[in-house]
Symmetry: C2
Subunit: 155 residues, 2 copies
Amino acid sequence: MVERYLTIGDVARRSGVAPSALRFYEQRGLIAAERSGGNQRRYERTVLRRVAFVRTASRLGLTLEQIGDALATLPDGRTPTAADWRRLSRSWRGLLDERIATLERLRDDLDSCIGCGCLSLDRCALQNPDDRAAALGPGPRYLEGDDPSDVGAGR
Amino acid sequence: MVERYLTIGDVARRSGVAPSALRFYEQRGLIAAERSGGNQRRYERTVLRRVAFVRTASRLGLTLEQIGDALATLPDGRTPTAADWRRLSRSWRGLLDERIATLERLRDDLDSCIGCGCLSLDRCALQNPDDRAAALGPGPRYLEGDDPSDVGAGR
DNA sequence: GTGAAAGATGAAGTTCACTTGAGGTCAAGG
DNA sequence: CCTTGACCTCAAGTGAACTTCATCTTTCAC
């Protein structure tokens, strides 16, 4: 039989996430732990899946806040099932597709611009900030930021 | 005839980059300006192309430092030609391809994980951090972070 | 039962790319 | 001339996601 509880060090080793990060996640309400008599954190093993979710969503570029919102939709009383996690993961799919599409658009634009070497502010597709809101990467700025009025105008 | 020099406001309007950002770029050595009698910035029009380069590279997820390094390879004495810009832009292509590939891999992994709902730390491809160094987005954390020994332990 | 390793806390620091604010100067139309 | 809006500098603030530090307490293998 395996230990019932994991220490923060155990979780860190098994998840590859630093203890300081785990405490930080707890502070942000993303994970939780019981406490030992001496006030040390004791994690249930399900926390590993939760941490996995957080890390993966984070890799996808979601903010911790967004991730927290997603986690909040998990059932309250019981341990989440595979189906629960599946539901959450499915929502990433659209995001990923979008991001890939944006990058591909950018690449195509780049191709045409390499042809001309222009980078003209007036004409170059690369410079056109219209889909800036649809963005690229992890930066929260990119993912949600800015209402369209801001974005278009270049601020 | 057009004005010989642009004020910071002109450049801001034409490039869609805030004056504060232009000053910041100058501080970082990315752009330069002459000064008027009264110490106000007077930009040559070529700065517009330079700013365009900075913004585009930034959208691609390069840090300002990397962008600065790229700009440093431009010819010193003369105004850069279209060919010069072309050379710089071409180097983005590989980066883009890489990023697209990473995201696609992630998407495929996600597909198989949606199937199982696992997110298992042991088996799930999504959790495999092996290509973390090849990363996704702008985050410098992602681009360099973590030596392999740390990363690997996670699984 | 004891000493080293591991854990706890709260505050402050880090990086990136900027923005904001305070307090003062410059330029141009009326 | 004068007012107003654009500019100047320098310092500090922002936010995301953590890490580091100082100081103290707990755990556990021997």
